[in-house]
């Protein structure tokens, strides 16, 4: 029975690890400026915890294999050195690993969430609602109109509760359901939720952030690869959660300018 356990556990360990190593299912290619750091941090963690995983499982398998030995008169053996060296070793090794991960990791984290956005960022207002994202560009005047929840009306496509009748800044705001951004230009999003919690997640951008009702949360990043990507909601928001998505279109600056003009005409 001990040998069977050892064999089964070894097979499980090898197969599980092989699928990781062969990257059968893996992260999509990164398209952001900060992404490589995250990927690096992930790989570091993958490597160290992978070793820990394989070593512990195989040690377990090996010890179980051996301890099933039924020979007469075999005496039990105490782990060499007893518990103390083991405790010390675990504390030092895991502690060192933690220090290293925290040191590097918190720099990566800070570079995304704790640094101020580039002053030349393109400002886009994002509203998450049950169950869609809407994006607002300030239009020609460069200013966003005020938001009035009581004026929100989906039937007339006034998703942000703008008041164009009284608020001139709101008249040229461009509201679209697709996030178009120019490539290689810093983007500053302001995230607001209309109803409940939502989240902003674009796997290729390596970025995720909750929308919280009552808070306006800034988020900034720079995309480096033109293309069409999916933005999905990762915070349970209700029955349509699974279907809450928008496309992110990263395009060259000229194409973006043209796109914006086209959208402005349709407002």
């Amino acid at each position: 029975m001990g040998k069977l356990f050892a064999v089964v556990l070894t097979i499980i360990t090898v197969v599980a690890t092989a699928i990781f190593v062969m990257r059968v299912w893996w992260l999509p290619a990164d398209i952001s400026v900060h992404g490589p750091w995250i990927d690096h941090q992930l790989m570091e963690t993958m490597l160290s915890s992978g070793i820990l995983f394989v070593v512990s499982q195989l040690a377990l398998a090996l010890f179980v294999w051996k301890s099933g030995d039924r020979r007469e008169g075999r005496k039990i053996k105490i782990f060499p050195g007893g518990a103390v060296p083991m405790v010390v070793l675990a504390t030092v090794l895991v502690g060192a690993e933690i220090l290293a991960l925290t040191f590097v990791g918190s720099k990566v984290w800070a570079s995304i969430y704790q640094t101020p956005p580039d002053p030349n960022s393109l400002a886009i207002d994002v509203q998450a609602e049950q169950f869609a994202f809407y994006f607002r560009y300030p239009g020609a005047d460069g200013k966003f109109g005020g938001i009035h929840p009581e004026l929100m009306n989906e039937a007339s496509q006034n998703f942000f509760g703008l008041d164009p009748a009284h608020d001139t800044a709101a008249r040229d705001d461009i509201v679209v359901p697709t996030l178009a951004i120019p490539v290689n230009r810093p983007v500053l999003l302001t995230l607001r939720a209309k109803d409940v919690n939502h989240a902003f997640y674009v796997p290729e951008l390596r970025i995720q952030q909750d929308f919280v009702p009552g808070l306006v949360i800034p988020l900034h990043f720079t995309a480096t690869q033109p293309g069409k990507y999916e933005l999905v909601c990762t915070q349970l928001c209700g029955l349509g959660h699974y279907n809450m998505r928008a496309y992110v279109e990263v395009m060259p600056q000229e194409q973006f300018d043209q796109w914006l003009k086209q959208q402005a005409a349709q407002q």
């Binding site: 049950q130 007339s156 496509q157 279907n243 809450m244 407002q267």
Partner: protein, 247 residues
Amino acid sequence: MRTHSIAVLATVLITGGLARSASIVGAAPPRPPGAAGTISGKVTYTGTPPKMKPIDMAKEPNCVTQHAGAPVLTENVVTGPGNTLRWVLVYISAGDQGSTPATETVRLDQKGCQYIPHVLVLQPNQPLDIYNDDPHSHNIHPLAKLNPEWNRSQPAGAPPIHTKWEQPEFIPVKCNVHPWMHGWHLVVTTSHYAVTGEDGAFTLSGLPAGKYTVTAWQEQFGAQSQDVTISGSETKPVNFVFKATPY
């Protein structure tokens, strides 16, 4: 099925009218044979109405494909050539007589991420069947206040929802999954109603002689009423003009 129920309905009406029985139609006064008046006219606007904006259904690629080439426009204010207004309900709001309760089943479709029709008129307890013709899930959420409110999803392949409204009420209906999907269920107690088409025209026929209040209702501009007296089989012209603002 539908023609069958109409036939049944007609039979019931005729029998009811002739026999003056107190059955299903007993409550409604019998239709005076041969002396029915008609009200007809047009609904228009003055001023600048809001733009009909194209709806970008990007989040539901199925629906984008269905409307490729001709994007769907917002339906809260739909105008036609000659300043006409579409989707206006015109109905007898007071002095109604000769109405018959409807028993035929009304059908609401969800197709291409739109409610078809945008404005659905029913009478209390008239059976309503809701179909999902799209290959993805929809959600129907009638924001009723007098009637019980409900909120239910209809996945692709699920059977139609059989329902009805018991109280007269104008109920906005939305799809929670597709924020742009909006429609109306207008429950009225009269069978004399019409919804304007693109030409803004309407006709209420089969009205016995009497004094009526005719009301036109538009989802954004509200309601207007006019009093009309019908004597015998005449056609009275009635027109409604709404004042439109761009926002």
